[in-house]
């Protein structure tokens, strides 16, 4: 289109210049109007006699002269003549007249330039009245040449032109259109500022804030702007900077959802990746900032800010548009450069941030390493001090079990040195009866990575042996690979002796206690028999009661002995096959003999044959039954029930007594634990029965548990595998 037009103009130009040549050649009276292209032709074609200027031939000489100058000049020139400053202009000026051409020819200047008359009227007045020239450089003039008000800049001078009779008859004005230069300069300046201001931005946040703030420098082309960054996770854009607009303004939300209901259609811009014009801003918001102008923008544009790289921040620049310019290619080009610069600043800041984070991380690692090294050194020193001062022997071996370090205690006791002891040299101080086993077992652990524990004698420097409990654990690296072994040897000679003494004592004590009880019991039973045979049933009954008390004593002694055995691992079971119900019946009958108040009710499943220690299982039953009786002094019934499952027989003993508080139930099977009654009645017993029962059941591969409700009663159950 533009090309066509210019071709047309060229054609006209050619035609007119040919005409001009012809006229020049014919030297017509209107010689001063010769040439001058289109405007020359138009001026010639105009019947000036119908205007206040009168016929061209009769124009004053001075007017003719300046018209001649005008038509032959390549500079845009216009002439205003007469009181109305009737307008004449040349071809170069047509661009300035814009849409006013060609009607502007012959019109009073005040009509042609009515929209800028406030600016230029007073200047022209001065020229005419004071006969002085004016000069304005790059004056902003909001011309309305194409149906809209347009920002223009002109450098121009008005010069008074005298009439033939003196006085000022008109003016001649030479113009330079500076619009493009001025706009270009301020845009370049902004871009430069933008680059300079954000160069030092070290964070994305600062880059955005500084970028946006820089835009204020050119409030002509960007009356206001907001910078948003995307939060992809949250599907929102958040405000990162503003220019020329207050943060609280309705047009400046802190967060914009990326959907169709948001204030600004950011989601569209993201989806298309293209700029989007928002028109009729005035309808959307009141009181929008005006920037450098008197009127607010009526359009804004949202430009996408492309992310840099994969992790880069994406965003949007929303810019109010200059109300006095078309959003043309140049303007778009400018804003694209602005956005490009902002994107670069963000990318730089991000790179810097990442670099700083990397550097900080490295510094942190470095610090940590140094600290660790210090810690290692300190902890090594602490460890040595500790290791040399503990009463145990300590040693370390490599992954293969080659011992490379012993603490001082080891050398003090054995009277050896590292030379003798390193590697597998330690065998020299082992007892010949044990060393074979010790070597075999520790080798196994070194090979499999299992923790090692053994107890064996070690020869001291005086040639005597003491017993040591020895342990070693593997130390592993982060991958789980064994890097070394750490071992200790603890002198347990005293402990071993004590244990032996304790075991001996309990064994002897039990035996010594049992011996008189055995004869007491026999005497009581003998007497009972004799009284019964003698017909003294009452005395016989008394002796029976005595016998029951002796059974209790026996059972207490037995418990003490059992605990000792459990603790020292000497508990041995005598397994045999037996009928379980027969055992239950026997035990129930025996226990029934000890109570007159309670009735033990049996609810037994068909019997099973168990392979177990009959006496020990009987002991468990007796324990549970006597407990049930003991802890239900007000009740009259105790229930023994058996239930058979696929692989076990479950026996329950239920009482209707005081019950066990919930918080005490988990501890009920602990050694020496006793449940006190609410009424502070103390119940006799050592608190060993349930502990022993639980151990017996567990070591038969069964389990034992309790269900109880305070005031309602308790049910103890145990299972035994079939």
């Amino acid at each position: 289109m533009a090309q066509k037009e210019s071709r047309l103009l060229n054609a006209r130009k050619t035609a007119s210049s040919q005409k001009g040549k012809q006229q020049t050649n014919h030297a017509s009276p209107a010689d001063f109007l010769a040439g001058g292209g289109e405007m020359g032709e138009r001026i010639r074609a105009t019947d000036w006699s119908k205007t206040s200027l009168g016929a061209a031939e009769r124009w004053p000489q001075s007017l003719k002269t300046i018209v001649r100058i005008m038509l032959t000049s390549r500079q845009p020139i216009w002439i205003g003549w007469g009181p109305d400053l009737i307008k004449l202009y040349n071809d170069p000026y047509k661009a300035i007249a814009g849409g006013k051409h060609p009607e502007a020819l012959g019109q009073p200047a005040s009509v042609v330039w009515r929209e800028i008359w406030d600016d230029i009227g007073p200047r022209l007045q001065t020229v005419i009245q004071q006969n002085e020239g004016t000069y304005d450089e790059s004056l902003l003039l909001l011309m309305e040449r194409y149906g809209y008000q347009e920002e223009t800049y002109y450098t121009f001078s008005y010069s008074p032109v005298p009439g033939d009779q003196g006085g000022v008859e008109g003016i001649i004005c030479a113009n330079t259109d500076d619009t493009r230069r001025i706009i270009g300069e301020r845009q370049v300046k902004l871009l430069r500022t933008l680059a300079a201001e954000t160069a030092d931005a070290r964070t994305i946040e600062a880059a955005c804030r500084l970028s946006a703030a820089s835009l204020e420098q050119n409030s002509y082309d960007i009356p206001f702007a907001m910078l948003y960054l995307l939060d992809h996770e949250k599907q929102t854009a958040y405000l990162a900077g503003t220019s020329g607009i207050q943060k609280g303004h309705p047009a400046v939300p802190e967060v914009v959802a990326l959907d169709a209901y948001a204030v600004w259609p950011f989601h569209e811009v993201i989806r298309t990746g293209k700029a989007r014009i928002i028109s009729y801003l005035g309808d959307l918001f009141d009181d929008l900032p005006v920037g450098a102008w008197k009127n607010p923008p009526h359009q804004a544009v949202i430009l996408p800010i492309a992310p840099s790289g994969h992790t880069g921040k994406a965003g949007m620049l929303l810019a109010g548009l200059n109300p006095f310019r078309l959003y043309d290619e140049e303007y778009q080009g400018f804003l694209n450069l602005v956005v490009g610069q902002i994107a670069a600043s963000i990318a730089n800041a991000q790179a810097y941030e990442e670099e700083r984070e990397r550097a900080e991380a490295l510094a942190e690692i470095d610090r940590a390493k140094k600290a660790e090294l210090r810690n290692v050194e300190e902890s090594e020193a602490r460890f040595r001090t500790l290791a040399d001062n503990i009463s145990q022997f300590a040693w370390m071996a490599d992954a293969n079990g080659w011992i490379f370090w012993y603490n001082q205690r080891w050398y003090d006791y054995t009277g050896t040195n590292l030379q003798d002891m390193q590697g597998w040299g330690w065998q020299k101080v082992h007892h010949p009866d044990h060393v074979g086993r010790v070597v075999e077992r520790i080798r196994h652990c070194f090979e499999t990575g299992e923790g090692w524990e053994d107890t064996f004698p070690l020869r001291g420097r005086d040639g005597t042996y003491r017993w040591f409990l020895s342990r070693a654990i593997p130390i592993r690296d982060e991958q789980g690979k064994i890097i070394r072994w750490f071992g200790t040897n603890t002198d347990v000679t005293g402990q071993k002796q004590l244990e032996q003494q304790k075991d001996d004592f309990i064994g002897i004590a039990s035996h010594e206690l049992k011996t008189p009880v055995t004869s007491l019991k026999a005497y009581a039973q003998l007497l009972e028999r004799r009284f019964r045979q003698g017909g003294d049933a009452r005395s016989a009954e008394l002796l029976q009661k005595m016998d029951i008390q002796l059974d209790k004593l026996t059972s207490l002694i037995g418990d003490l002995l059992d605990v000792t055995k459990i603790e020292s691992g000497q508990l041995l079971f005598q397994h045999s096959s037996f009928d379980f119900n027969v055992l239950i019946n026997e035990t129930v009958e025996e226990t029934q003999r000890t109570t007159t108040r309670h009735t033990i009710v049996r609810k037994l499943a068909p019997s099973v044959t168990l392979s177990a220690d009959r006496d020990r299982i009987g002991q468990v039953l007796t324990n549970l039954l006597t407990n049930a009786i003991k802890y239900s002094p007000q009740a009259e019934t105790v229930v023994v029930k058996t239930v058979r499952t696929d692989d076990a027989i479950i026996t329950s003993v239920q009482d209707f007594g005081i019950g066990i508080p919930g918080e005490k139930q988990p501890r009920i099977f602990e050694r020496f634990f006793r449940v006190g009654g609410e009424t502070r009645i103390t119940y006799p017993g050592l608190g060993l029965g349930l502990y022993i029962s639980a151990e017996f059941v567990k070591r038969h591969g069964g389990s034992i548990w309790v269900e109880s409700e305070q005031g309602k009663g308790t049910t103890f159950s145990f299972s035994l595998p079939l």
Binding site: T518, S519, A522
Partner: protein, 120 residues
């Protein structure tokens, strides 16, 4: 009671148990002999009993060795030996030593009688 009373020898180092068991077994009609000395069981100066009640924890010559020895001699191989012990875990020792039966102390006289009657 019977003319031909069966004789039971009791060996225990506790005189009280010897006393009461002697009284009891005599009450039920046995001839009873007793000793606190294990050594006395080497040659049976008063002749062989029909049953030996032997405490496993004898001072001097202990019950296990006595049992082993008697069960290894032709003269005494068939002598029923009932081992008494305050430690029920020694039952397996008694069995290993060839004892015919085992009774843990303290015991009911009725149980003792039942066991004796198994062999006499």
């Amino acid at each position: 009671m019977q003319q031909n009373k069966k004789k039971i020898l009791i060996a225990d180092d506790d005189p009280a148990i010897l006393d009461v068991l002697t009284l009891f077994l005599q009450d039920v009609g046995y001839e009873v002999e007793s000793t606190t000395d294990g050594e006395a069981l080497r040659d049976f100066p008063h002749g062989y009993p029909d049953l030996l009640l032997l405490d496993i924890w004898m001072s001097g010559w202990n019950g296990r060795d006595i049992c082993l020895s008697l069960k290894s001699q032709d003269a005494t191989r068939h002598l029923p030996i009932l081992i008494l012990s305050a430690n029920r875990e020694t039952q397996h020792i008694a069995c290993a030593a060839g004892a015919d039966d085992f009774l843990a102390k303290p015991f009911d006289l009725d149980d003792l009688l039942k066991k004796i009657e198994l062999y006499l």
